[in-house]
């Protein structure tokens, strides 16, 4: 958690946390996992939107508004709390798309798409990732060819979060080899959305197939061929949210595992009194604080549009992405056998963290970005 929240942010955090606790405790998450195709009821998401979950990255002119003047720093509060509670909901894709529209959309595009997105009526998602390529901006390979004044997209995107629920997509593609983003309606001819499998119980994904999808020039976000900075920016927003989510998860799990170690007795002593375990808790506490620190540093650099954001999000994602699964598994180990049963909540957290770790660049992918930032030559030689 940010140690320097404003009073307003603190209030916002409490409101969010209480809402999640009341409306989607883990028992409810498990229910929704069984019976809600989207992983959550539509009405619940609209209520979240009412709390501001969809509008923090959008300018006031477009109907948005932040709590502190730093929209992303407000939004990571929500992401962190959602991690703490393994909450469902398309927080990441909706906000990335909202930011894309607000920052790069024409007036027409904003008028058409933003109101429903902000109110929670509509869901949208970002199609960046392609199978077999790293989930990075550099992994975009989908070709958009010109046909007269139009563009034609053919290829596959995915996994796409909330893909089956989305009414439209921002699709990253290449026009003449240059990154370009398009707004694509989910019901446009040639778009086929198929549910994918996923590790998280309530955060759902889909594959999006585009088969000769014809788009007018008005569907281009910004200008054709000028999408690279957009994609990098949206990618940094997405990664900052993932990092906050993972940080929230480990902070929460470490905390209840600590409690368990105080309550559970073995050989007449609480588990918490065993030095070998104490030292592991010390390491986990260290890694958790380091994760919280780097997640926040990443969010701040992205919020400030700093030139360090490129590296800072990759530092955070690679560090937390490595540590978080290890922390959670050690927490399983400290719980003993119940930790690997379906009825215990630990696996819900592992699912969330492993998914966050995997999408929008694995730690490997992000270290590769850091290596590039360090100008490490890719070919051999002295």
């Amino acid at each position: 958690m940010d140690l320097e929240l404003t009073e307003d942010q603190e209030l916002f955090r409490e409101t969010t946390a209480k809402f999640l606790e009341r409306t989607s405790p883990l028992s409810t998450v498990r229910e929704w996992a069984e019976k809600e195709p989207a992983g959550f009821p539509a009405d619940w998401w609209r209520q979240g939107a009412g709390l501001g979950w969809t509008s923090l990255l959008v300018s006031e002119d477009d109907g948005g508004g932040s709590v502190s003047g730093h929209g992303l720093l407000d939004l990571v509060i929500v992401a962190e709390e959602m991690g703490r509670g393994v909450a469902p909901g398309p927080l990441l894709p909706v906000n990335v798309v909202a930011a894309a529209l607000s920052e790069y959309g024409t007036q027409d595009q904003r008028d058409r798409y933003l109101p429903d997105l902000l109110s929670g009526e509509a869901i949208a998602s970002w199609c960046l990732t392609e199978k077999g390529a790293p989930g990075l901006p550099s992994g975009v390979g989908l070709q958009a060819t010109r046909r007269g004044a139009d563009f034609v997209l053919t290829g596959r995107k995915g996994p796409v979060e909330a893909g089956a629920e989305a009414e439209f997509f921002v699709v990253a593609a290449l026009v003449d080899g240059e990154p370009t983003q398009f707004l694509v309606d989910a019901d446009a001819p040639g778009v086929t959305v198929t549910r994918a499998e996923g590790l998280d119980l309530v955060r759902r994904f889909a594959m999006v197939e585009l088969d000769d999808v014809v788009l007018p020039a008005a569907a281009v976000l910004g200008e054709a061929g000028a999408g690279a900075p957009q994609i990098e920016r949206l990618f940094e927003l997405a990664v900052a949210l993932e990092c906050a989510s993972m940080a929230g998860v480990i902070d929460r799990v470490l905390s209840f595992t600590m409690e368990y170690s105080f309550d559970r007795y073995s050989f007449g002593r609480p588990l918490a009194s065993y030095q070998a375990l104490k030292h592991r808790f010390a390491d986990m506490k260290l890694w958790t604080e380091a994760s919280l620190a780097t997640a926040l540093a990443a969010a701040r650099s992205v919020d400030a549009k700093s030139e360090r954001a490129f590296e800072f999000v990759s530092v955070a994602k690679s560090y937390i992405g490595d540590r978080a699964p290890l922390i959670l598994q050690d927490c399983v180990q400290l719980h003993g056998g119940i930790g690997v049963t379906w009825d215990h909540d630990l696996h819900l957290y592992i699912r969330r963290v492993v998914q966050d770790r995997a999408l929008f660049g694995t730690p490997y992918d992000h270290r590769e970005r850091i290596a590039q930032a360090l100008r490490l030559e890719e070919s051999h030689g002295h």
């Binding site: 077999g132 996994p159 007795y265 180990q333 056998g337 930790g339 696996h347 966050d356 995997a358 992918d365």
Partner: protein, 433 residues
């Protein structure tokens, strides 16, 4: 514990006069297997086989074929229906059996844990009644040891057996029994005396599982498996002749059982035939990471190559360690608890294997199109700790290694020498409805 008297120690004695020559045995086994055992179905992984509901029935059938062919219970004594052969014979048979479907589900716990414990501490009547049926595939056994309240501190169990004339009346609950729903008998440890320190009030019983008063519930695990069970006992009457070992000396029996369990989980048991993963030596035959590297098109990436090779090396070192430790124990150069070494190795190697798999799975471990190999690795990662918790946690193994192999001071136990009813312990959870 004077382990030199125990039946299972005979397996490492010099082979009896007239024992079949190893190579002759190997040739005979090879021919017999080809004629009698069904080839392994390549479409089913051993893990999938393990999860099949029908596997219990199938294993009994397969075991019967081995039994009829004279290839069952190779290292069990002849007087109880075994073949009285050496570890080397068993290893040769296991090697030869790799291409065939084998009743692997019987290996753990029936053959490697329960049968040896019964051999060591059962009465002559108990052994003659059960060991031959175990070897022929007629009886499957499980252990009723752990309890929801217990964790690593097994001896703090609270399931009670109260003497009432010729019977003991059993009440309480057990957990983590593997495959109890399909098994026939259990060795059950229960508290028979409360006013003495915890180890001295326990008794071990043979319990018929499917009888009134016993309810068996399968536990759903994170990977979807329901192998493990929890049992609830409600005034179950156990005949006094079912006591194994002495009344209130059940801890001695349980200690030996745990010794066999460490051997079994670490891969060092002489009583098992066949091995998961098909061909090759213990644990060295896994190819899942190679398949994954190929499926993701990353075999040329040196980071990936390093990880696949590391995992391969870890597996082979594990097999080499088992050889060393079993040789050390059998020659008396290592103390009995040395089995904790390969047990801990296997568990930590399994963790590392899962970590490497997650790394190789890349983006596909989070969300994936149906059927992707990477997605399987995401699912498997949920069970990463399984091997580090079952059969004594890694923490207990490290205690054993430091205290009983290295001779370091014992950990302070707040319940030492105190009557059990005066010690703080975890409450037994109430039965779910």
């Amino acid at each position: 514990m004077a382990t030199d008297r125990l039946d299972t120690d005979r397996v490492d004695a010099a082979p009896a006069e007239g024992t079949e020559d190893l190579e002759a045995f190997r040739m005979r086994a090879r021919a017999w297997l080809a004629d009698n055992m069904p080839p392994l179905q390549e479409t089913l992984t051993p893990h999938q086989l393990m999860l099949q509901d029908e596997m219990g029935t199938r294993a009994r059938e397969l075991q019967r074929i081995l039994f009829d062919g004279g290839f069952a219970g190779l290292c069990f004594p002849k007087e109880y229906g075994g073949q009285g052969l050496t570890r080397a014979h068993q290893a040769a048979f296991t090697h030869e059996s790799a291409p065939y479907e084998m009743p692997l589900v019987l290996n753990v716990p029936t053959f490697s844990i329960l049968a040896p414990t019964l051999l060591d501490f059962g009465t002559e009547e108990q052994k003659r009644a059960h060991i031959p049926k175990i070897i022929s595939g007629e009886e499957m056994w499980v252990q009723f040891l752990s309890e929801p309240s217990g964790g690593s501190d097994l001896a703090s169990l609270v399931t009670r057996a109260t003497r009432d004339g010729d019977v003991f009346i059993l009440n309480g609950s057990k957990i983590w029994s593997s495959g109890a729903f399909r098994a026939d008998y259990a060795l059950c440890l229960a508290r028979t005396e409360w006013h003495v320190p915890k180890h001295r009030g326990l008794t071990c019983f043979i319990v018929k599982i499917h009888q009134p008063g016993i309810e068996v519930q399968q536990i759903k695990m994170v990977n979807g498996s329901s192998e493990f069970c929890q049992e609830f006992f409600d005034d179950v009457a156990i005949p006094a002749e079912n006591v194994v070992g002495e009344v209130n000396d059940g801890w001695t029996v349980a200690t030996r059982l745990l010794y066999h369990e460490r051997d079994a989980v670490g891969g060092g048991s002489p009583y098992t035939s066949g091995v998961f993963g098909g061909r090759g030596e213990h644990g060295s035959g896994r190819t899942d990471l190679i398949d994954l590297a190929r499926a993701t098109g990353r075999t040329g990436d040196s980071h990936v190559r390093q990880l696949v090779a590391e995992s391969r090396a870890n597996d082979l070192v594990g097999a080499q360690l088992i050889s060393r430790v079993t040789k050390g124990i059998s020659t008396g150069k290592f103390p009995g608890p040395a089995g904790s070494l390969h047990r801990l190795y296997a568990a930590t190697n399994a963790e590392r294997h899962q970590d490497i798999a997650l790394e190789l799975a890349g983006a596909g471990a989070g969300a994936w199109a149906e059927g992707d190999l990477a997605g399987e690795k995401g699912i498997e990662f949920l069970s990463r700790q399984s091997g580090s918790l079952g059969g004594g946690s890694n923490e207990m193994q490290r205690n054993i290694i430091s205290e009983r192999i290295l001779g370091m001071p014992r950990e302070y136990a707040a319940d030492k020498d105190k009557p059990f009813d005066e010690v703080r312990h975890n409450a037994s959870p109430s039965r779910p409805r």
